[in-house]
């Protein structure tokens, strides 16, 4: 049900994009106004989000340690999984960001005949990695549209991406990987009863929106090629703040633009802003050295305590009888 609603929302957006060309002012809205709004929202939204996280204090040093601590010199430590310095903690975060290491730990638990068993579960890791790396490459490839001259690394990236040399224009691996990963993640969300139970409409929406973007983009490349020169003109003009409204843009382009703009507007306010978690999480980006170096809590505040003197006042007589030493300073004795 939630998945269907999310699909309906994405389809409605796509249809709106497809028909924009036919509505007066529609083309301007989708090719000029919306991209600016989207870009501004994305930039401001992310800045606000990151500021909100970064500005909140980290009262305690609470890394989750996944290996041996540094204690005695002769014990082999796990310097990355249990970092002892800020630099090692940064490496831990970098490895997590680049390889999704934690997901690689994943396993699945089964109970059979009253026993708990584990099996490997690497697909989630693989799909997440494929999704994020493909997105990055695709994003870099798109730089050819907004930058003049095309950045030096884009053509070789394109070539590498198309090294399979299937069809013309050559099929790009990242396109395939992206769609496959999105379909897997979607299928998994629907097929796994635990995930289906917990998934929100927004979880499906995010995946379907990305899928819509990928498919509309691919259609422009493989099925109904658009005039790349005019697309680049449009993008360059936007980037130069001299927007030119295209005369008869392809419906696919409008769909693509509308969906991408939606994503950009939606991203800062959704779970898609999860990148913050990778870099800012105090369970990951801090060194496990809280006994060696004192960590400061900016809001550390006094609390009522039961002092030794108060305590001794209550027990002094019994303590003396039992032969325990007493200070006897704060009470009559």
């Amino acid at each position: 049900m939630k998945a269907l609603l999310a699909a309906a929302a994405v389809i409605a957006l796509a249809l709106a994009g497809a028909s924009a060309g036919a509505i007066p002012g529609g083309t301007v809205a989708v090719t000029v106004v919306l991209p600016y709004v989207a870009f501004l929202t994305l930039a401001a939204g992310i800045a606000w989000r990151v500021w909100q996280w970064a500005a909140s204090p980290v009262p305690y040093r609470i890394p989750t340690t996944c290996g041996q601590q540094r204690s005695l010199a002769w014990i082999r430590t796990a310097p990355i999984d249990n970092p002892d310095t800020g630099i090692m903690a940064a490496i831990r975060v970098a490895i997590e960001a680049l390889t999704f290491r934690s997901l690689l730990r994943n396993s699945r638990s089964h109970v059979s005949a009253g026993r708990l068993e584990f099996s490997e579960a690497r697909l989630l890791w693989l799909a997440s990695l494929a999704l994020h790396w493909s997105l990055l490459v695709i994003l870099l490839r798109h730089l050819r549209f907004v930058l003049q001259p095309t950045p030096f690394f884009v053509p070789p990236l394109d070539a590498l991406d198309g090294f399979l040399r299937i069809g013309a224009p050559p099929l790009l691996i990242t396109d395939v990987l992206l769609v496959a990963a999105l379909l897997y993640l979607l299928g998994r969300r629907l097929a796994n009863p635990l995930l289906r139970y917990m998934s929100l409409l927004t979880d499906y929406f995010a995946l379907l929106l990305l899928l819509g973007i990928a498919l509309s983009g691919m259609a422009m490349r493989y099925a109904a090629p658009v005039d790349l020169v005019s697309v680049k003109q449009l993008a360059l003009a936007l980037a130069a703040f001299h927007p030119v409204v295209p005369l008869a843009p392809s419906a696919l382009l409008l769909v693509h633009l509308l969906l991408v703009s939606t994503l950009a507007i939606y991203l800062p306010f959704s779970k898609l802003a999860h990148f913050g978690g990778v870099f800012l999480s105090p369970t990951r980006n801090l060194a496990n050295n809280s006994r060696r170096v004192r960590h400061i809590n900016p809001w550390n505040r006094p609390v009522p305590t039961h002092t030794y003197a108060e305590w001794e006042a209550e027990y002094a007589d019994k303590m003396k009888l039992a032969g325990l030493p007493v200070d006897g300073t704060d009470h009559g004795g």
């Binding site: 005695l72 638990s109 998934s199 929100l200 002092t307 030794y308 027990y315």
Partner: protein, 532 residues
């Protein structure tokens, strides 16, 4: 066991909608409420007589405002809380990593589901999309049913952090649980098993409320027992000013078994190496149930340790075997109650090793201390005295995932025992499974849920029992020692539980000791002992 209910472990596909907050407080699966006197002792709000099964929890009239303001305040004070509310992608990697989910099959015990119980409220009151789109964006109203649901499920999390290591963002449900429990405490919702020991610890000095003279009696008793076992007079100094080291242990070590044998082990060791130490009757509790209640209560209880170290004029502090105690000592104490600038860098008086890793907090774990002694060959062990035991080691959650104290206890065990076998790799070290009774859940009324939560741990023990004939589960945690025996009796009968320093004490060859006839439990040694 015949008198215990049969517990079926089954993981079924969940039914219904998780946003439906109603819970059934089924006997055996929750903890009793704090009676008014607990809260009065500690000066905590809304003392009253109530139980979770009551229809009316007698919350303060403005409970909702208190909770929402409490959330707002903590969102501003803890980056962890704000971030963990924002970034979960519901990928489900953590879903089947929680022992309570695995043991209960209740989908709301999946870590991300547990977190979603408050995240949905966060969305409703603190995010734009939640305010605009409500339940479509996964937002939920804060109702009394939600409060009850929070109580049920956030007291079904042992703050073990296992979920966190699988999460791509390190989302630590333990941290969320700590914050929700703190929020609940603002409206007087807490459990007796936590507030009573905390109150005792605050006023008297330890969880059971053992007054100083009775504390002395327990330690004298240990002295007598040690005389019987070793023939040596082993004194345990109390509140002695000017000692080099203050030794702080969980109070269970001197009032509960099998903890008690660990106490004997420490004292034999300290005697053998001639450690200049004292224990304190004022700071006679290393454990800190405040950790399971609220930041402030944790700090109030913890403050005694540094205060006492200062009063006694010791140079540094040594800490005994206890899991959650070490979470507090390692990750919170110095920040909360430091700086300990009146203490000195801990240096082992026997080996000269400087414990640089404790340079600021000035507190060393007894396993670090003992491993160092063994490495330098300063003590002699006869592991054959432990030959009746086939040993495996349970990593307690906090030393494993909140510290990384993994090798030190293993080093001691391997030296002290001839038969040692690890449990499967996915169930030890950072992957360790909780005993199921930590974080203040180890009470009798919660027994069914404890046995369920402990099932994954027990299952791994059963594996090594069948494979290698393991009959002893070693650990370094007072809560483990209190609760694993019950767990073993139920799931893996025939496995005993012992502290690492109990096994060390058995094996320790002491100067001038008589030939040992028994182990520290008073059981006859398996064979003629020839090495003494």
């Amino acid at each position: 066991m015949a008198d215990k209910p049969a517990i079926d472990i089954e993981l079924k596909a969940p039914k219904g909608d998780w946003r439906d907050a109603r819970v059934e407080f089924r006997k055996g699966t929750f903890s009793n409420a704090s009676p008014p006197k607990d809260l009065v002792h500690l000066g905590l709000p809304n003392p009253r007589k109530w139980q979770p099964t009551d229809l009316d929890w007698q919350l303060p009239p403005d409970w909702k405002r208190i909770l929402l303001e409490g959330m707002k305040d903590r969102l501003a004070r803890y980056r962890s809380f704000r971030l963990f509310m924002d970034v979960c992608v519901r990928c489900g990697a953590c879903a089947d990593k929680c022992h309570f989910y695995l043991g209960s099959g209740d989908p709301k015990n999946m870590p991300f589901a547990r977190a979603e119980l408050i995240r949905s409220v966060y969305r409703r009151y603190f995010t734009l999309s939640g305010r605009l789109f409500g339940s479509l964006a996964g937002a939920r109203e804060l109702t009394e049913d939600v409060v009850k649901e929070w109580f049920y499920y956030f007291y079904q999390c042992t703050e073990c952090r296992r979920c966190s290591i699988y999460c791509p963002f390190g989302i630590d449900t333990a941290e969320i649980t700590m914050i929700v429990r703190e929020l609940l405490s603002l409206i007087g919702v807490s459990t007796h098993w936590i507030t009573e020991p905390a109150g005792n610890c605050y006023r008297v000095g330890n969880h059971l409320g053992i007054a100083p003279h009775a504390f002395k009696d327990s330690l004298e008793f240990a002295r007598d027992e040690l005389r019987d076992i070793t023939g040596l007079d082993i004194e345990i100094p109390i509140n002695r000013k000017g000692a080099e080291v203050l030794f702080v242990m969980p109070s269970a070590d001197y009032f509960a078994t099998p903890h008690y044998y660990t106490l004997l082990g420490y004292m034999m060791l300290f005697h053998e190496i001639g450690l200049d130490f004292t224990v304190s009757a004022y700071a006679s509790e290393g454990g800190n149930f405040g950790l399971f209640h609220s930041n402030d209560l944790m700090k109030r209880l913890n403050a005694k340790i540094y205060a006492e170290a200062k009063r006694l004029g010791v140079k540094w502090i040594l800490g005994g075997e206890c899991g959650h105690m070490w979470r507090v000592l390692h990750q919170y104490m110095d920040t909360m109650n430091g700086p300990a600038d009146f203490l000195e860098m801990p240096v082992s008086p026997v080996t000269g090793t400087r414990f640089e890793n404790a340079a600021s907090t000035k507190m060393v774990h007894v396993c670090e201390f003992t491993a160092d002694l063994l490495y330098h060959g300063k003590i002699k062990l006869d592991p054959s005295r432990n030959d009746e035991y086939v040993v495996t080691y349970h990593d307690s959650c906090n030393p494993a995932r909140g510290m990384g104290l993994l090798e030190e206890p293993r080093y001691v065990l391997r030296r002290a025992c001839n038969h040692f076998h690890e449990m499967p790799a996915k169930t030890i070290r950072e992957y360790t499974f909780c005993c199921g009774s930590g974080a203040g859940l180890g009470n009798d009324e919660n027994m069914e849920m404890r046995l369920r939560g402990g099932f994954p741990r027990a299952n791994a023990v059963r594996h090594v029992r069948e494979e290698h004939g393991v009959n002893l589960l070693a650990c370094i945690c007072a809560i483990d020692k209190a609760t694993l025996p019950t767990l073993m009796d139920y799931w893996v009968p025939g496995v005993q539980v012992a502290g690492v320093h109990e096994l060390l004490g058995n094996a320790l060859v002491m100067t001038g000791e008589k030939q040992r006839a028994t182990n520290l439990r008073g059981e006859p040694l398996a064979k003629e002992e020839v090495h003494a």
